[in-house]
Subunit: 348 residues, 2 copies
């Protein structure tokens, strides 16, 4: 881990420099638990309209920073803008999540574009520029993409699925065809992340939400290796790029993931085993996480204890405080305030 001179505590941690008070942000911090978000969301039209309005996307990105003073903002967008830029149809149905045209046979896959139309994503880059323009210098701005495996699970099934069985079966039955989806996503993701850096992102996160359903062999092939290629591709153009990987549910495979991918940090979910993480992950890279979002909904003494468990487990090393997954819409704002105050009162 190279030591970077920075005025951003969040970036310092990604460079391996532990902070006495861990920097803090929350996955999905621009979201429905905030009344000011719901107000903007209501006037934006569809979900993708919000993602592709630079003014509104910048506004909701900044809302949680204004309210809680988080150490990092994450650009408001969605992992499925990448298949959209690859020419796939992507819609968001109210209350039902994303709907895509399923890409579930080798025949359909052979027609998949490998070059993305980045003009479609220009509003995301413009939103990044706007946010970076007004963000305090000490606050980091995070760009992101979905990991190829996770994005592919939606592209294959055409929607979210409880067990990602359609993509897993396609990968078993037609690994060459499935590789074509992955390859298109690797190339597009590299270019997309670089453009986010150009537009003002200080760091990048790769979300592999469904990494935890794969056997070790499939995890190596479909999660680790494509992520490694993205990290390598981004670094070949921007050697200083700071990259966080989030292979949710990877559990005991996390040490291999760190070694194989070259990420600067891993985000961990709330089921992680602290000793393994400290000894085999945090000894190599920074760790981000991992409060149970349901403890945040609960509040009170249960929340204090869960916050303290996270700090006791990880705050003696390079650590960014975060949730183990996205904040849930029904979370009371007072509980977020309670969590932030408790983390900031920590003196490790």
């Amino acid at each position: 881990m190279n030591q970077t001179v920075t005025n951003k505590p969040f970036i310092a941690v990604l460079s391996g420099q532990r902070q006495a008070v861990p920097p803090i942000w929350m996955m999905r911090q621009a979201g429905r638990y905030l009344p000011e978000y719901r107000e903007v969301r209501a006037k934006a039209g569809g979900f993708l309209d919000l993602c592709f309005s630079p003014e509104l996307a910048a506004e909701v990105t900044l809302q949680p920073i204004r309210r809680f003073g988080f150490d990092a903002a994450i650009i408001f967008s969605d992992i499925l803008v990448v298949p959209y830029a690859l020419g796939r149809s992507v819609r968001f149905e109210v209350g039902e999540g994303p709907r895509l045209e399923p890409l579930d046979t080798p025949e359909k896959i052979s027609a998949l574009a490998t070059e993305a139309d980045f003009s479609k994503l220009e509003p995301v880059f413009e939103a990044l520029r706007r946010v970076r323009g007004v963000l305090a210098p000490s606050t980091a701005l995070i760009g992101f993409c979905g990991a190829p495996w996770t994005v592919a699970t939606y592209m294959v099934a055409g929607q979210g699925t409880p067990d990602q069985a359609p993509a897993r079966l396609l990968a078993y039955r037609h690994p060459e065809a499935f590789s074509k989806i992955i390859d298109a996503l690797v190339g597009t993701s590299i270019a997309y992340l670089l453009k986010q850096l150009d537009a003002g992102a200080d760091a990048l996160q790769i979300f592999d939400t469904w990494a935890g359903v794969l056997s070790p062999r499939e995890f190596a092939r479909w999660s680790m290796e494509p992520t490694r290629r993205i990290v390598e591709g981004v670094r070949s153009a921007r050697s200083d790029a700071k990259i966080i990987g989030f292979p949710r549910g990877a559990g005991a495979l996390l040490p291999s993931y760190v070694a194989a991918t070259g990420v600067d940090a891993v985000s961990i979910d709330w089921t992680a085993e602290p000793k393994l993480i400290r000894e085999q992950v945090q000894s190599k890279v920074a760790v981000q996480g991992n409060l149970d979002p349901l403890a945040l909904i609960t509040g009170g003494a249960a929340l204090d204890q869960a916050v303290d468990d996270v700090l006791a487990s990880y705050a003696q090393g390079p650590h960014i405080f975060n949730l183990g997954h996205g904040i849930l819409p029904e979370t009371p704002i007072a509980h977020v305030e309670q969590m932030v105050a408790r983390v900031r009162a920590y003196r490790g």
Copy 2:
């Protein structure tokens, strides 16, 4: 691991004695992928009618043994017969899974019975006696129950849930009330497992299907500690009882689970990390698992490779070949035959 004299390879492995050819069975092996099962199921009426018909439950228990010569039969039943014996209403809706009266407030929980009516479960014991009466001496018969945590997730929510949030929130908000559910399940499960041993079961399995959603602190309190109490309770009456734990998704928490609970073996899902399992789990107890059920659906070279991966990972120690979770209804029978032949051709 005490060395037991037995003519059952399955029991020998549970006693720590590695077999050159690993014994094999499949979770949910009496199930809808078998035409002979579907035939019995159609004439049984409801799902619980099948569970509570000694003749039909014995018949479907034996079907996969006749067809594949598995080394173990598992009594056909369901983990929700325990709340049923505790007086809860339990129904199975076609295509929708179980429906119970939700037990989701401290007030409702205070009225929960702590003594089960085991006369309701007499058909299960009778089915065990019938199966044991006709099973070859070399074939083991497995009795089972759900772990208190997993059974409680259904009792609290009244149905299956994607993330077990109702039980997790109740456990955070009202740990004392939630403990009452767990305590009732611990006591009932001990008695239920002992009665299954009395009726002819050679070994027991405790299914903790939803163990993987808990943080380390909650896992210790709601999964490991109740399981430890069950193991201790069963052993206090039957010191020779062989018990397999299956905390699905426990990942890097498995070594702690083995140390805390005292089980003779753990069943592992297909996402397990082989090195951790070998060094920290199989060095202590037998390991059962862990073929990806989707590899079994796929068949062909992908299935061969997945079978070989499991054997290469675990068959050098005490190992029972199994799936990482239950067999899926759409699995071709020919693929089960392919898997069995490949495992039995193994010479480790």
